[in-house]
C-alpha cells in the first residue's frame, strides 16, 4: 500500500473522531474528523489533477501549519508528485537558489504569502489555497497588478558548484525534496523517499510508545523534516489527534495544553525551556505526559529544568519524573529523521539516545563522526552529485558531519564537524552568511562564529570604503543589507567592523 493510501485508510477508519484540531490564535477552534480529512484530501487530488499535477511533477508547498497542509501533502503523494516544503521565512538569496535548483512546475501557497514568492513564479502554475479550495492565479495578470515584484536585482549566491543540466535526476520512490544546509554556503535539496517517511514515523512511534499518546500539540513547522514526521505522518498513521496552534506565546501554550488535554509534545529544546521558565513563574507544571526534544542541542542544565517543570521533584539523575511524565531527547537531520532517540523507560540525561531500529551506525575512527546507513537514509541531493558523493560514501554510509561519543549504546553529541549551527532548531550555514555579507560592496570578507548560543560576525571592510562614492557602513547598515537577503534567524546578534 502506498504511503498516501495508508494515510487515507487510517483517517477513514477514524471516521467521526478528531484527526486535527486547529485552535488558531485562541479565538476560534476548527475540528477536522477523519472523514473531513479524507474528503479534503480527495477534493485537493481532484483540483491538482485538473491543473495537470501528475507523476513526478515538482510542486513547491509554501503553506502554514494546517490540516490543509497535511491534506495537500497527502494529495500530492496520491498524485505521485514530488513536493518541496518551503519555509515562509526564506528571503531572496535563499528562494532564488531553491527555485532555480528545483525548478518546480507548480507552486501552492496562501494569498498572504503570494507577494513574497511571486518573483519566482514566472512560467509556473501558481495555486492559492484559501483553506478549502485551490485557485489558480494568472501570473501575467498578477504581475501587472504588482509592478514592485520584478525578478531584476534579485541577489544570487556566488559559491555554487556546477549543476548538471539534466532536470530528470529523480530516483524512483522520491516523495519530496527538502532543502537543507551542510556548510557549503548554499541550500541543498535532499531527496526523501516515501519509505523514509514511513521508516522514520515507525521508529519514532516505537521509541515514544505511540499507543500511549492520544492528543499532541503541533508547534514544529510542517515544512521541516522533524515536523513532517512527528506532526504530520505520526498522528495520521498512529491515531493521535493533532492540535494545531499558531502562537508560541508560553502562557497561551500552557493554557492550550490544559484546555485540549495534550499528553504529547514534540518540540525543540528552546520551547521546553521557555515553557519551563513560564511554568516556574506561574507555579503549575507543564501538563504533558511526554515531551520529545530534537532539532537543536539540549544541554544537561536545560534537560533538568524541563524535567522539573514536568513535575520531577528530584531531577538529580532521573529521566522519569515523579509525575510519571518523561522527557526524551533525540537527534536527526534532514537526511535521516529520527537518527537517534531516547526511549520511554530508558532515557538518559545528557544523551541523544540510541540509534533507532533499522539503521546501521558507527563512529568514524579518525574523528568520531557519526555514520549511518539503511533504507531510512535519504537518496542524495537533487542535481548535486558532488555534494551527494561527499555526504554518501561508496559503501552507502551517510557522513552526518556531527561528532558523537558513546556510552553503553547511548550517544552523546560532542560538536559539529561542518561549519553550521542550530538556533532555535533552525540550521544556519556559516558559509552562506559569510558569502552574503561578502556580497556587500564595502565588505572584503567576514568571519562568522557561533559562541554561547549567539551568532557573531567580524566584518573586514574593503579599502577605500570611505571614498567618493560611499561612507563607512555601520553595523545597522549591514544588518539591513542582510535582512533583505536572509531569513531573520540567520542575522548575527553582533556585527563588529574591522578595517583592513
Amino acid at each position: 500500500m502506498s504511503l498516501a493510501d495508508e494515510v487515507l485508510a487510517k483517517a477513514s477508519a477514524r471516521a467521526a473522531k478528531n484527526v486535527f484540531v486547529d485552535v488558531g490564535t485562541g479565538k476560534e477552534r476548527v475540528v477536522y474528523s477523519g472523514n473531513d480529512f479524507v474528503q479534503m484530501s480527495q477534493r485537493i487530488v481532484r483540483a491538482l489533477e485538473k491543473e495537470g499535477v501528475g507523476y513526478r511533477s515538482r510542486v513547491t508547498v509554501a503553506l502554514r501549519n494546517s490540516a490543509t497542509f497535511a491534506a495537500t501533502v497527502t494529495a500530492l503523494l496520491k498524485c505521485g508528485a514530488v513536493f518541496a516544503p518551503m519555509k515562509l521565512e526564506y528571503r531572496a538569496v535563499e528562494l532564488t537558489e531553491m527555485f532555480r535548483d528545483l525548478d518546480p512546475d507548480f507552486v501552492i501557497t496562501e494569498a498572504e504569502h503570494l507577494e513574497s514568492i511571486w518573483p519566482y513564479c514566472d512560467g509556473r502554475v501558481v495555486l492559492v489555497c484559501d483553506g478549502v479550495e485551490l485557485h489558480r492565479v494568472d501570473y501575467d495578470q498578477h504581475a501587472r497588478a504588482s509592478p514592485l515584484y520584478s525578478r531584476e536585482g534579485l541577489a544570487e549566491l556566488s559559491l555554487l558548484s556546477p549543476r548538471p543540466s539534466d532536470m530528470s535526476g529523480l530516483p524512483p520512490g522520491v516523495a519530496s525534496i527538502n532543502f537543507t544546509y551542510r556548510g557549503h554556503g548554499y541550500p541543498l535539496g535532499a531527496m526523501i523517499a516515501s519509505e523514509q517517511y514511513r521508516i522514520g514515523t515507525k521508529a519514532l512511534a516505537e521509541c515514544i510508545d505511540a499507543d500511549r499518546c492520544h492528543t499532541m500539540l503541533v508547534l514544529l513547522p510542517m515544512t521541516h523534516i522533524y515536523g513532517l514526521v512527528a506532526c504530520l505522518f505520526l498522528p495520521l498513521l498512529h491515531d493521535i489527534t493533532a492540535v494545531l496552534t499558531h502562537t508560541l506565546h508560553p502562557r497561551r501554550l500552557l493554557q492550550t495544553i490544559r484546555d485540549e488535554s495534550i499528553d504529547f509534545l514534540p518540540a525543540v529544546p528552546e520551547i521546553g525551556e521557555l515553557l519551563a521558565k513560564t511554568q516556574t513563574c506561574e507555579d503549575s507544571r507543564i501538563g504533558v505526559d511526554l515531551f520529545v526534544t530534537g532539532g537543536s542541542r539540549l544541554t544537561e542544565d536545560c534537560h533538568r529544568r524541563i524535567l522539573a517543570s514536568l513535575g520531577c521533584t528530584d531531577a538529580s539523575d532521573a529521566s522519569q519524573t515523579t509525575s510519571g511524565a518523561e522527557l526524551l531527547n533525540g537527534y536527526g537531520l534532514t537526511e535521516v529523521t529520527p537518527a537517534t532517540l531516547n526511549r520511554r523507560g530508558d532515557a538518559r540525561i545528557g544523551t541523544e539516545g540510541t540509534v533507532v531500529h533499522g539503521l546501521e551506525w558507527k563512529l568514524s575512527d579518525t574523528d568520531g563522526e557519526l555514520l549511518l546507513r539503511g533504507p531510512g537514509v535519504f537518496r542524495g541531493y537533487y542535481r548535486r552529485p558532488r555534494e551527494t558523493n561527499e555526504a554518501l560514501d561508496p559503501e552507502g554510509w551517510l557522513h552526518t558531519g556531527d561528532i558523537f561519543s558513546v556510552n553503553q549504546g547511548h550517544l552523546r553529541f560532542v560538536r559539529e564537524l561542518k561549519p553550521t549551527c542550530k538556533i532555535n532548531g533552525l540550521m544556519v550555514d556559516l558559509q552562506e552568511l559569510r558569502a552574503v555579507l561578502s556580497g556587500h560592496d564595502r565588505v572584503e570578507d567576514a568571519h562568522i562564529a557561533f559562541r554561547d548560543g549567539k551568532l557573531r560576525a567580524v566584518v573586514e571592510l574593503s579599502e577605500g570604503h570611505s571614498g567618493a562614492n560611499g561612507s563607512r557602513p555601520s553595523g545597522d547598515c549591514l544588518r539591513a543589507f542582510l535582512k533583505e537577503r536572509l531569513a531573520s534567524y540567520k542575522i548575527p546578534q553582533s556585527i563588529e567592523l574591522s578595517d583592513r
Binding site: H249, E270, I271, T278, C281, N424, G475, Y489, S494
Partner: protein, 80 residues
C-alpha cells in the same frame, strides 16, 4: 502610575536579558543590542503579562524595536 509601569517593564527586561537596569536606556535596540531572539522575546512578553495583568498583541510587539517603544506599548496597553 505610568512611571511605575515603565520601571516594572524595565526590570523584566533586566531580569530576562541578564543586564544591569541602568544600561537599559530607551534608545537601546532590543534585538541587536540585547540579543533578544524570538524565544527570549516571548518569555519577556509572558512575564510582563503576568506582572501587569494584561494580554499583549504578539503581532504588534513584533514591530517594536527599542526598549522605549516597548515601555510605551506596555504603558498604553495597561491603560495608563
Amino acid at each position: 502610575m505610568a512611571v511605575n509601569i515603565r520601571e516594572k517593564v524595565r526590570s523584566v527586561f533586566a531580569e530576562v536579558c541578564k543586564v544591569d537596569i541602568e544600561h537599559l536606556d530607551d534608545e537601546v535596540r532590543v534585538r541587536e543590542e540585547l540579543g533578544i531572539d524570538s524565544i527570549l522575546g516571548l518569555q519577556l512578553l509572558a512575564r510582563c503579562e503576568v506582572i501587569l495583568g494584561i494580554e499583549v498583541d504578539e503581532a504588534a510587539c513584533a514591530e517594536l524595536e527599542t526598549v522605549g517603544q516597548f515601555l510605551d506599548y506596555f504603558e498604553s496597553a495597561s491603560g495608563s
